[in-house]
Symmetry: C3
Subunit: 188 residues, 3 copies
């Protein structure tokens, strides 16, 4: 079928036969050994590797990469092009903005095959904005909010909003993300 005569047969969101209740784009590459909960949608060109676990009712957006053994909870949104590497655990209801890059090797060298992954955890309800970078080995606390473009280099406390490169605490937010203090008004 000609791609230009309409959306081609190859470009559709469709019910997966392998993962009950999961909707997968026809260009996504999901390994049979992954585990994916019902209600989850996986979009164009996303990749889910062997032994990854994704919960129910998640959105895995265009071009996202979910590495081997990564664990993602329920009702998470992982936006375009984000890369979630081996060693990362994402709990329930986490928002990962577009182009977020996790890492798992503190001192990467192309010629070092003996490196070990440093684990990273994103706790329940936290949000990471667009283009955030996460240096590995940290925990981002529940309902924390990392501003777009920030670089996380150490642990983020629960309900803390952090901003900048490196990311620093500027105020606390509530569960809905609203700032809890006037001091936050001066930041941008």
């Amino acid at each position: 079928m000609n791609q230009n005569s309409g959306p081609p047969a190859a470009f559709v969101m469709q019910q997966s036969e392998r993962f009950p209740g999961v909707v997968v784009h026809s260009t996504a590459w999901v390994d049979n050994r992954a585990s994916i909960g019902p209600g989850t949608h996986i979009w164009m060109n996303a990749q889910v590797r062997e032994y990854a676990t994704i919960g129910a009712e998640c959105v895995i957006a265009k071009d996202v990469y979910i590495d081997q053994h990564v664990r993602i909870g329920d009702r998470c949104k992982i936006q375009n092009s984000s890369s979630i590497y081996f060693g990362v655990t994402i709990k329930d209801e986490v928002f990962i903005g577009p182009h977020v890059a996790f890492t798992n090797d503190r001192i990467p060298r192309a010629f070092n095959d003996a490196w070990e992954a440093s684990p990273t955890v994103v706790e329940h309800g936290a949000s990471l904005g667009a283009n955030v970078t996460v240096r590995c080995g940290v925990t981002i606390g529940e309902y924390a909010m990392v501003a777009a473009g920030s670089v996380v280099t150490r642990d983020v406390a629960p309900y803390s909003m952090v901003i900048g490169n490196p990311a620093r605490h500027v105020c606390f937010v509530d569960r809905d993300g609203n700032r809890a203090e006037e001091a936050c008004d001066v930041i941008e």
Copy 2:
């Protein structure tokens, strides 16, 4: 056809039958309800969603995402992997570098379905460098220049060059991008 015996039939830039004068890569996913002007090229794995409007003679590069209802003017270049979300308007002759992430939700939470998009506008002739992040709700003025790697957190004046995280004004540039002041020489 075997992918390895030459460029496969599935991997070509070709004239679109749906959008007159538009050239689309066979792996791009363009919704029939989008509007695209003649002379525009859409590359590998790009996605253009329903009701998006793209002008004439644009380049939409590899892996770019154009969300629903986004409006892009004529003669724009949108480089690899950039994500342009609902709520963003891009005027004519705008340069969007690779990996640029726009946003549209100031306080994203995965569990908040009632969020509203904050609009962002990029005015005529402006340039955003590689890996720029744009926090939503701002206007980037005409012929402004945002240096690569910067994080835009508030309005950028016309012809202003801004740099850093957060992005700050360092000097004015002319229409061609040349710096108008000696002071710019000391920045990097």
Copy 3:
């Protein structure tokens, strides 16, 4: 073959017939005029353009873009979604983390067709972390290490670790990436 009844025929890593000893994913787009050394693996949706040269035993990961005439040495790892543009030279054993954006035009304008590329060189054994941005016209010295999320705006000395936006020298590292000075302990 239905994508949902198992990994479809279209989604496989396979020996290339065009490039001896090279393994290419069936969704990658490699131009016949590129040169690629044996033992190199090219993953999902990567693009290698005309006259690009890639050495032996490299990994070119998901969604990577290798522009025309780019030169990459042996045993390099180029991680997910990185964009390597015309004018960039990467020597042997270089690690390029995920989402790294190179550039080649110091003052990009969408309407300027007469721009010239500023060359960038990454020397032997250097490492660039995730989400690094490289403003063009610089040399990154051998075994240098650029921390994740940094923005490189000027030359980086050999064995130097640089961090931040703009990236600044914080200490020297050895060939394996270990820090050579106590002072590094205070950075993050």
